[in-house]
């Protein structure tokens, strides 16, 4: 929970509906994310949480509704536009570039900041060389921040699960995002790994003022680190508010007592 948060809205989700054939993944969902906050999205499996993130960064195109990001309303956006606009993310199922090293994965996250042409890159002198060095320096900071110096040159496919999740966070951080979307970053982790990851998320939010949208199942973690929570069930928003408010909300309790439906 940070002090830097303001009441300025960074992202507003307005009446979003999304369906796949007959499956209604999201139904008329609205909420907002304020600059500098940690906003958690929770709900049972299949509630539509991942779909929501996919809508926010332009991977899914909702049938209804608009997204307003940094004051700009849009109906449809392509993922690379979202990325260029400062939205970065991690994935529920690790989506690292398996054949590349940790360093290269994180460098790739920085690609949107790089621009030197093919010609200079083929020569790799002058501008291209300088650019590479400059961004390498930034990436080294990310590597230091996440304490993964020792696996810099390791192909990520060979890393244990917990570290892969961390590298994925690094790849997202390398983009210096204004909005960071984290899809179950602690799923499948042991307690120690979860603590590390929570710390990284909080520090990211604290030190760089990055706004974070977080999907997480571990209620302890959610209660600890989020400023506000939105709850989805069957694609609908059933509650929203501070962690405390949400925890005591009757419909949330009901939703979690019911069986999960994926």
């Amino acid at each position: 929970m940070t002090n830097e948060q303001t009441n300025e809205t960074l992202l507003e989700v307005d009446a979003i509906s999304l369906s796949f054939g007959g499956v209604h993944a999201l139904v008329d969902v609205s909420f907002d994310i304020r600059k500098g906050e940690v906003r958690s999205i929770i709900g049972p499996n299949g509630a539509g949480k991942s779909s929501m993130l996919n809508v926010i960064n332009g991977f899914y195109h909702p049938q209804e509704g608009t997204i307003t990001y940094q004051g700009q309303a849009r109906k449809r956006m392509r993922p690379h536009d979202a990325a260029a606009g400062g939205i970065a993310r991690t994935f529920q199922n690790i989506a690292l570039f398996k054949g590349m090293s940790t360093l290269d994965n994180i460098m790739t996250g920085r690609n949107t900041h790089m621009s030197k042409s093919l010609f200079w890159q083929a020569l790799r002198i002058g501008p291209a060389q300088r650019e590479e060095i400059e961004h390498r320096e930034f990436v080294e900071h990310v590597i230091d921040f996440l304490e993964i110096q020792s696996i810099r040159k390791t192909p990520v496919g060979r890393l244990p699960y917990g570290l892969q999740k961390r590298v994925e966070l690094g790849r997202a951080l390398a983009a210096e995002p204004s909005l960071l979307l984290l899809d179950e970053p602690m799923a499948g982790m042991n307690l120690e790994e979860k603590e590390d990851m929570s710390r990284f998320i909080l520090e990211t939010n604290d030190e760089f003022g990055t706004t974070i949208a977080l999907i997480e199942h571990d209620m302890g973690v959610v209660m600890d680190i989020s400023d506000r929570v939105v709850v989805l069930d069957y694609g609908r928003k059933i509650a929203e508010g501070t962690p405390e408010e949400v925890r005591t909300n009757q419909s949330v309790i009901d939703a979690y007592l019911g069986v999960s439906h994926d």
Binding site: F20, S50, N54, F59, Y60, F91, Q92, N93, A95
Partner: protein, 310 residues
């Protein structure tokens, strides 16, 4: 009137070629559905099957050299089927099981390797010369059609179309009615489900490769009877690829319809566009058609559109 007859003949002969393509495409689809493997070697399997069949039938084959007699057709075909089943088993044992978890591109390239192995093996065992395959399928024009409708159609082609229809019917029954067939369909949807039916994955692979080996044999017999057993057969079989693009990789009806469209399309193109641009466009027409098609309907005529998830 004369023109119409000509057009009809072109279309019919295209349909017949299309049946041949469809037969090869069918083998592809079976394997792809059950294992997600795009079997580039399907065409060479047809060649290999035809070579094996020839060997049982001819006096210059190994079988004759070893046993001193040749097999009659009704025995040679089951014997070849056994060869194809053994082949499927060997492929599963030596290649597939080691590549289970690989990505599809690696698998695809492995089947290109497989195509070369089978070709090399076929050449080494049976020689690379053209072999006439005669299993008693009637040859020449159908007199009845010629007399009654003034239509020139090869009997062989009619026979091939009939055989293909029967084959598809048998396959449909196999998939719908038998326990193994149902397991195969399950595996296409979900590997876990197949395991719960109680059939192991490697067994399923052997079966499915055997079945498509048998389909390859049928294709090999038809092509071989038409133009002799020769290497070009495996190149012609490459045409099954555009067929699959049109039909979708997982659809049996798609393979048939796609085959017919390509067969007719390229015949029409050859006859009507060919002379304008210098001929021989049959070589590439199918691929270009598929390419254009891909741009507009990448999932094929019968494939479902899949929205990827993360």
């Amino acid at each position: 009137m004369a023109f119409d007859i000509f057009l009809l003949e072109v279309i019919l002969s295209g349909l017949m070629t299309g049946v041949m393509y469809a037969l090869v495409a069918l083998g592809f689809v079976l394997i792809f559905k059950a294992s997600g493997i795009f079997n580039f070697a399907q065409g060479v399997m047809a060649l290999f099957a035809a070579l094996a069949l020839y060997d049982f039938l001819a006096e210059d084959g190994w079988f004759f050299a070893v046993f001193g007699f040749t097999l009659p057709v009704w025995l040679a075909i089951p014997a070849t089927i056994v060869v194809m089943i053994v082949l499927a088993w060997v492929i599963e044992r030596t290649v597939l099981r080691f590549l289970v978890k690989q990505n599809e591109i690696i698998l695809f390239m492995a089947t290109i390797g497989l195509a070369f192995v089978l070709e090399g093996l076929g050449d080494l065992l049976f020689g690379s010369d053209v072999k006439p395959l005669d299993i008693g399928i009637p040859q020449g024009a159908s007199d009845w059609l010629l007399d009654s409708f003034n239509l020139y159609i090869e009997q062989l082609e009619i026979f091939a179309a009939g055989t293909a229809a029967v084959l598809v019917a048998i396959l449909a029954i196999f998939f719908q009615r038998t326990r193994i067939g149902r397991a195969l369909r399950a595996v296409a949807d979900d590997h876990q489900a197949a395991l719960s039916v109680g059939v192991s994955l490697d067994k399923i692979w052997v079966i499915v490769w055997s079945v498509s080996g048998i389909v390859a044999l049928v294709a090999g017999i038809m092509w071989g009877s038409k133009s002799g057993v020769q290497f070009s057969l495996s190149l012609i079989a490459l045409k099954a690829l555009p067929v699959l693009i049109l039909g979708g990789f997982t659809s049996v009806p798609g393979a048939i319809v796609g085959g017919l469209i390509i067969g007719v399309g390229e015949k029409l193109a050859e006859v009507y566009i060919g002379p304008i641009v210098g001929g021989a466009i049959e070589n590439w027409f199918a691929y270009m058609l598929a390419l254009v098609f891909l741009l507009f309907r990448p999932q094929g005529l019968f494939g479902e559109r899949i929205i990827e998830r993360v």
